[in-house]
Symmetry: C2
Subunit: 193 residues, 2 copies
Amino acid sequence: MPGRGKRAAERICDAARELFYRDGTRAVGVEQIVAYAGVTKPSLYRSFASKDALIAHYVTEFGVDMLRRFDEVVAAHPGDPRGALLTVMAHVAEQTTAPGCRGCGITNVMIEYPDPAHPARIAAEASKSALRGRLRDLGAALGARDPAALGDGLMLLIEGCLASGQLFGPGGPAASVQAAAAALIDAQAGPGG
Amino acid sequence: MPGRGKRAAERICDAARELFYRDGTRAVGVEQIVAYAGVTKPSLYRSFASKDALIAHYVTEFGVDMLRRFDEVVAAHPGDPRGALLTVMAHVAEQTTAPGCRGCGITNVMIEYPDPAHPARIAAEASKSALRGRLRDLGAALGARDPAALGDGLMLLIEGCLASGQLFGPGGPAASVQAAAAALIDAQAGPGG
DNA sequence: GATAATAGGTACCGGTCGGTAACATCGTCA
DNA sequence: TGACGATGTTACCGACCGGTACCTATTATC
C-alpha cells in the first residue's frame, strides 16, 4: 500500500499509475484501485469525475514524467545533440528490455481507447507530439539535412522498442536500437555531427 | 452482417476479426460479436471454448495473414532483398497512415493481456518471432555485416509505424520509414546491397 | 424417410462493473 | 469549544459481463 501518510487523492494516483501500467486500464477496476490505495470509493469520486478522468490524469502524468526524463538527458549533454540522442536511446534500450517492462503507458492507453474524443487519447496525443517535436529539434541541432525525417525515424525506433520490448524482453530487437539510431544520424549528418 | 451464407464458426471469426481490431478485445463483448455475426451465443461456445480462445484464434489468423502478405512481397522480388524490404516498408507506411488504422492487431492484444501465459500472448509471440526471423534472413541475403542487427532495426521501424500510425495518422512519423530503412540498409551493406 | 449433426431461440446464472446516497468520524484551525 | 472540510463506512443501484441449460428447427447423409 503506497504512501500511507499522503492525501487520499495522491494515494489514488500512485495506485492507479502502478496498476494501470502493470495490468492495463480496462483490466483494473476502481474497486481494485481504492483497495490498493487504502482509500474508499467515494474518496476517488470526490477527486475524479469518473474512471475515464482518472485515466486521463494518469496519461498526463506519464507524459510529464517522460518528457522530464528526456529533458534531463538533453541538459546533461550541452552542445552535444548526438551524444544526447545516443544516451536517450541507450536508456530506452535498457528500460524496454528490463523484465516486467510494459512499454509506454501512453501508447497502451491509446490502444485501449480508439475513440479520438476520449480524454485520455487527447492527453496521449499532446505528450507524443511534444516528444516528436523535441526529437526534430535535436535533429536540427546536429545539422541534419532533413531534421523532421531524422526526428521521425528516431521516434519510430523508440516506439518500436516500447512495443517490442514487452514481448521479446532482454534478447529482443531493442538491443540494436542504439546502433540503428547512430546509422540514421550518420546518414543525415555524418559521423562527426 | 458479414457472410450470411457461411457457417456459423466462420461468420463468428469474421465478426470477431473486425470488431476486435476496431475496438479492442476487452471492449467487445461476446453478445456484440454474435449479434454482428448474425448467430447466437451457444453457437459461439460450440466452436470456441471461451472468449479467450476466440481471441487466441483471432491473433493466430492475424499473424498468418501478416506473414502471407510479407512473403508475397518477398516472392515478387526474387534475388532483390533490398527491393523487397523497401517495398515492405512502403506498404507499412501506407497502411499505418491510412485513416482508421489501428496498428497491429497482435500488438494490441499483447498490450491488453500482459499475462505471459495467456493463450493469445503465446500466439502473438510466435507470429512476431516469425516476422523477426524473416527480416534477419533478408538482412543476411543482402550481405549485411550484422544481419541480426539490421533485421532488428527494421523490425523496430515497423513496430514504430504500427504504434504511432494510429495516433498521428497520415502526417505522422511513418511517412519517413522508407528513408530510415534505406539508411539502415546502406549502413550495413552499402547502397548497392 | 430415418438419423445425426449442426444450428437457432429463449431464458437464465452468478459475478463484476462504474457510480452514488446517506451517514459517521477524524483532524485542523479559529 | 465549535465548526468545517476531508475522509471512512455501509449499503445500494442498474447495467453488463462471460457462460450455460434446455428445447426446437434445419440440413445433409445414408
